[in-house]
């Protein structure tokens, strides 16, 4: 399968990428690792006329201890996240979730920023970042702005990023090496989750769901039940409350709701150990 033709421009810096995006508007797409975009281009579901390769903007690949939080460059690869010592100590959940993205080959290329900007509700990292209450930093011609994870994912493959903005950094709180769980349910090892549930305990417990709607979702009813003193088994009964999961060849909506409840219970139990 061969993508539709396009012009290829390699950006040497974030600002250069933004300038090229501004020039071409919606006709241009950013290319980071390409693990989400290239498959869509090969199916010709995405046909940008200009591809702006930011894969070599090396100064956007880092995991830094920034005092009370961690700062992660948008072009940090999954491989570098799953092996990060800083994350092992201060945000074990992100390391563990990154290790479950795709397979080794995909993790050698794919980036956390690419996964976030793609906005696929079936992706692993967006749900983890939602559970972490992450902050996303977007840079455009007018400068930088911060976007809360809760406001970022707006629809299927739809995010708060403007066409001429580049996601540059992801900021997450320090939640420690333990106190989390990611339960990913799929048919084959490298598949997307049919449903996933991530729980992070850092004082309060937060729960987010993969593939239970058009965006990654916080399981707010579960969190409220836990805050009111409910046991994990009882709180997890609310995991599918208010969700409208899709039907596809892997699962009916009813099955997805069942999975959300079971996986949430397992996640809560494991996060508590």
């Amino acid at each position: 399968m061969i993508p539709a033709a396009f012009d290829y421009v390699r950006a040497g810096s974030a600002d250069e990428a933004i300038a090229i995006l501004s020039e071409h508007g919606d006709d241009a797409k950013l290319l980071a690792g390409g693990m989400s975009l290239i498959p869509l281009m090969k199916l010709r579901l995405s046909t940008p006329s200009v591809l702006v390769d930011v894969g070599r903007v090396a100064d956007l690949s880092y995991v830094r201890d920034a005092g009370d939080r961690l700062a992660i460059g948008a072009l940090t690869r999954h491989r570098d996240i799953e092996t990060s010592d800083v994350l092992a100590e201060h945000c074990g959940v992100l390391r563990a979730v990154a290790a479950q993205v795709g397979d080794n080959q995909v993790r050698h290329r794919g980036t956390i920023g690419g996964s976030v900007a793609h906005g696929d509700p079936a992706s692993d990292l967006p749900a983890a970042l939602l559970a972490l209450d992450a902050t996303f930093v977007a840079r455009g011609r007018a400068g930088e702005r911060e976007i809360a994870a809760a406001d970022f994912f707006q629809g299927f493959l739809e995010t708060a990023l403007a066409p001429d903005e580049l996601l540059t950094e992801i900021r997450v709180p320090k939640t420690g090496p333990r106190g989390f769980s990611y339960q990913k349910f799929n048919r084959r090892a490298q598949d997307w989750a049919i449903v996933g549930a991530v729980a992070v305990t850092n004082g309060a417990t937060r729960v987010a769901l993969v593939n239970m709607g058009t965006t990654p979702l916080r399981a707010l009813a579960v969190e409220a039940a836990l805050a009111a003193g409910a046991a994990p088994a009882d709180a997890s009964a609310h995991a599918a409350d208010g969700t409208e999961p899709a039907a596809d060849l892997n699962a009916s909506p009813e099955y997805r709701c069942h999975l959300a409840r079971v996986l949430t219970r397992r996640a809560l139990e494991e996060a508590a150990t």
Partner: protein, 174 residues
């Protein structure tokens, strides 16, 4: 505010511009390769068609099966899901470059010794994925081998002998 949504993703008309060719240069199996390519040229096409290295296979063409696995700067990647232009200036290793002509790399030898292949279609990708895995985890457990090869599908040998081969190769390298 304009949003980057499905409209932007799906409704852009296909370009009629064939895409300005780009000159790319990379080291493939130790030798420099220079070619003009269309930007949409995939790395696997580049290796097979421009470099005439057909050991790397196109299987599923959707980054699921791993038959197209090669090393870019010593790390396994699926060459069906990377543009050749992204490998510009990098060092690429294919199955042909693992060992000198006539010799076998320890992982190749282990596949032969342990009946790690039958039809052979997945083998180049399996071997390249295994080489990258052993580079990252020199002494893997059986579980680490199985998880490390999750991006590679075999449809005839089955996985047991492949796992045995990779464990044997790890042992021989010790």
């Amino acid at each position: 505010m304009a949003r980057r949504g499905p409209g932007a993703l799906f409704n852009v008309p296909a370009s009629t511009n064939p895409g300005v060719s780009v000159r790319i240069s990379m080291t493939v199996n130790g030798a420099v390769q220079d070619h003009d390519v269309e930007p949409r040229t995939l790395l696997v096409q580049y290796l097979r068609e421009a470099c005439a290295l057909t050991g790397t296979k196109i299987g599923c063409d959707t980054s699921s099966c791993g038959a197209c696995t090669v090393l870019v700067d010593d790390e396994s990647v699926k060459s069906c899901t990377m543009f050749a232009a992204q490998a510009d200036g990098r060092s690429v290793t294919t199955i042909e470059g693992l060992a000198p002509e006539g010799a076998l790399h320890p992982v190749q030898q282990a596949f032969q010794d342990n009946h790690g292949l039958q039809c052979g279609f997945c083998t180049a990708g399996m071997v390249m994925a295994a080489v990258s895995l052993l580079d990252e985890i020199p002494n893997p457990t059986e579980r680490e081998v199985r998880e490390g090869l999750e991006g590679n599908l075999c449809r005839c040998t089955g996985y047991h002998n492949i796992v045995k081969a990779v464990l044997a190769a790890a042992g021989s390298a010790r």
